[in-house]
C-alpha cells in the first residue's frame, strides 16, 4: 500500500503546503495575494455557513447536471449514428469539426445574448462544451469496430439492428465512456467560466465576487471545491472505464 511512489508524492504535497503556509509568515510573500492553507480552511468554514452558499452550489450543480445529461443524450446516439452511416458523416462533419476547432467559451457572449444571464445560458454552455468530445469519441468508437465481428454477425443472418446492438454498441462502449470522461471536465469548466462571465448565482459567480473583493482565501476555497468535484466525477468515470477494459480486452 504505502509504496515508494505514494511516499514521494505525499512528501511533495506536504512540502508544497508547508511552503505555502510559512512563506507569508516569514514575510517572503504577502498573504493578501497568496493566502495560506490554514486561512483557506478557515474561509471554507465561513463560506459553508453563509446564506447563499448552498443556493450557489445547487445552482451550479443543476446547470452542470442538466447541460451534461443533455450532452450525453445527444452526443452518444448522434456519434454512434454518424459513425455507422458515412453519408450522414459527410453532411455533418464540416459543422462538427468547425465547432470542435472553435474555442467554445468564445461563444459565451452570443449564448448570453440568446438565452440571458440565468441558468439557461450555463446549461447551454455545459452542453456545447461537453457534447463535442462525447460525439467525436462515440463516432471514432464505431469506426474502430473490427469489420470481422460484423461479418461474423452477418454470417448468422444478423439484421442491421442486431449488428448495432450486439456488435457496434458493446465494441464502441469503451470509446463512448472515454468521450464522457473528457466531456465532463470541459462541461465543469464551461459552467464555472460562464458563471464568472455573466450570472446571478453559482460557484463561478462567488469566485468572481470574492476575486473583486480581494478575498483570496474565499476564492481559493471555491476553486478547490470545483476541482474536487471534477476530480471525483472524473475518477468515477475512469473506474467504470477500467472495469470495461478488463472485462473486454
Amino acid at each position: 500500500m504505502f509504496n515508494y511512489r505514494t511516499l514521494v508524492s505525499t512528501i511533495t504535497v506536504m512540502a508544497f503546503l508547508a511552503v505555502w503556509e510559512f512563506a507569508p509568515r516569514a514575510g517572503i510573500v504577502d498573504a493578501t495575494f497568496t493566502s495560506q492553507p490554514t486561512r483557506v480552511v478557515a474561509a471554507g468554514f465561513e463560506i459553508i455557513r453563509t446564506a447563499g452558499f448552498l443556493h450557489d452550489v445547487s445552482v451550479s450543480l443543476s446547470e452542470f447536471a442538466l447541460g451534461f445529461t443533455l450532452a450525453i443524450a445527444v452526443g452518444v446516439p448522434l456519434g454512434l449514428v454518424l459513425g455507422r452511416f458515412p453519408v450522414l458523416r459527410y453532411v455533418l462533419d464540416p459543422p462538427i469539426m468547425a465547432i470542435y476547432a472553435t474555442p467554445h467559451l468564445a461563444l459565451l457572449p452570443i449564448i448570453v445574448v440568446w438565452l440571458g444571464i440565468g441558468m439557461q445560458s450555463k446549461i447551454a454552455v455545459a452542453f456545447v462544451s461537453g457534447v463535442i468530445p462525447i460525439l467525436v469519441n462515440a463516432m471514432a468508437g464505431v469506426r474502430g469496430v473490427d469489420g470481422s465481428w460484423i461479418v461474423a454477425a452477418r454470417s448468422f443472418s444478423a439484421r442491421e439492428w442486431d449488428v448495432f446492438v450486439k456488435v457496434i454498441l458493446p465494441a464502441s462502449l469503451p470509446s463512448v465512456i472515454l468521450g464522457i470522461r473528457l466531456g465532463l471536465s470541459r462541461a465543469v469548466l464551461g459552467v464555472v467560466v460562464a458563471e464568472m462571465y455573466q450570472s446571478q448565482a453559482g460557484v463561478g459567480n462567488e469566485i468572481m465576487r470574492y476575486g473583486s473583493e480581494f478575498r483570496t482565501d474565499y476564492l481559493l476555497f471555491d476553486v478547490l471545491l470545483v476541482s474536487l468535484f471534477g476530480l471525483t466525477a472524473t475518477s468515477a468515470v475512469r473506474a467504470l472505464e477500467e472495469r470495461l477494459w478488463t472485462a473486454g480486452e
Binding site: 473490427d146 465481428w149 461474423a152 454477425a153 454470417s155 448468422f156 443472418s157 458493446p170 465494441a171 462502449l173
Partner: protein
C-alpha cells in the same frame, strides 16, 4: 421408399458458372477473384479447397456463405439460389472473429442469439451453448475471455459457435491458418472426429496440401489469375484417419498429384 420416384440425390451445393469480381481501391480497375467456376458438392461429404493465395478459394467459400455477391452465375443450396446468409450454413473464420467482450460460453451463444431457433428460451440457448463448449473440449473454460485463450482454443470457440446453430453446411475459411503446425494437426484430427458424428456437409479452405488430403473426401484444386478450378480429386483413404494415414503410399501419391496442379 416410394417406388414411383427413385431420383438420384441432388447435390447439396451447386455452384454454377460463378464469377466474383472485386473493385480495386482508388479506381484502379477490377480484380477477377473467381472466374466461371462450376462445382457440385454432395450431401454429407467433406470437401477441401486448396490453392495458392489469391486463387479465389475464400471468395468461393464466402459466396456459398452468402457473404459475397457474385458478379454472375449463382450458388444453389438444396436447389434454391443463395442470396444471403441463412440458417442452413455457418462459417468458421480464419481470424476467429470472436467478440473480446464476450466469454467463451457467450461467444458460442452469439449465433444462437441472432438466429433464435423457434421455441427456445434464453436458458435453452445457454444450455445448448454449454453442450457445444463441451463438444470442442473447452469444458471448464466457459467463463474465460478470448484473450485468455491460446489460438487453438480460440478457434475451438469459433467451431463451437458455428456448430451450435446446427447448420446443414459447415463452411471453414482457412480456420487453422494462423495456428502453429502441431496445433493445426491436432485441430484437424479433432475436427474430423466431430464431423464423423453427424457428417454435415463441410467445405474447408486451406493452402496446406497435407491438411487438404487428410480431411477430404474430395479435393478441389484451384489456380490464380483468374481464380479457377484446375482439378477435382476424390480421396479414397479409409476413415477414421490417423497420423499414420499421412504416411501411407496413397497419401503421398495424392500429394504428388496436387503439387503437379499447383
Amino acid at each position: 421408399m416410394d417406388a414411383r420416384t427413385v431420383v438420384e440425390p441432388a447435390p447439396h451445393i451447386q455452384v454454377e458458372s460463378l464469377t466474383v469480381v472485386y473493385e480495386k481501391p482508388k479506381a484502379a480497375g477490377t480484380l477477377i477473384a473467381v472466374s466461371n467456376v462450376n462445382l457440385d458438392i454432395a450431401r454429407g461429404t467433406f470437401v477441401t479447397i486448396v490453392g495458392p493465395s489469391g486463387c479465389g478459394k475464400s471468395s468461393l467459400l464466402l459466396s456459398i456463405a452468402g457473404l459475397v455477391k457474385p458478379a454472375s452465375g449463382c450458388v444453389r443450396v438444396n436447389g434454391k439460389p443463395v442470396s444471403a446468409p441463412g440458417r442452413d450454413r455457418a462459417v468458421v473464420f480464419q481470424d476467429f472473429a470472436l467478440m473480446p467482450w464476450r466469454t467463451v460460453i457467450d461467444n458460442v451463444r452469439f449465433g444462437l442469439e441472432l438466429q433464435r431457433p423457434r421455441g427456445l428460451t434464453g436458458g435453452d440457448l445457454t444450455e445448448r451453448a454449454c453442450r457445444y463448449v463441451e463438444l470442442v473440449g473447452l469444458k471448464g473454460f466457459e467463463h474465460y475471455h478470448p484473450h485468455q485463450l491460446s489460438g487453438g482454443m480460440r478457434q475451438r470457440v469459433g467451431i463451437a459457435r458455428a456448430l451450435a446453430v446446427d447448420p446443414e453446411i459447415l463452411l471453414l475459411d482457412e480456420p487453422f491458418g494462423s495456428l502453429d503446425a502441431q496445433t493445426r494437426d491436432e485441430m484437424g484430427s479433432e475436427l474430423l472426429a466431430i464431423w464423423e458424428r453427424n457428417k454435415k456437409t463441410a467445405l474447408f479452405v486451406t493452402h496446406g496440401i497435407d491438411e487438404a488430403i487428410f480431411l477430404a473426401d474430395q479435393i478441389v484444386v484451384m489456380a490464380r489469375d483468374p481464380g479457377r478450378i484446375t482439378k477435382i480429386i476424390s480421396v479414397d483413404l479409409p476413415r477414421p484417419r490417423t497420423v499414420e494415414t499421412t504416411d501411407s503410399k496413397r497419401f503421398i501419391e495424392y500429394r504428388r498429384q496436387i503439387r503437379e496442379c499447383l
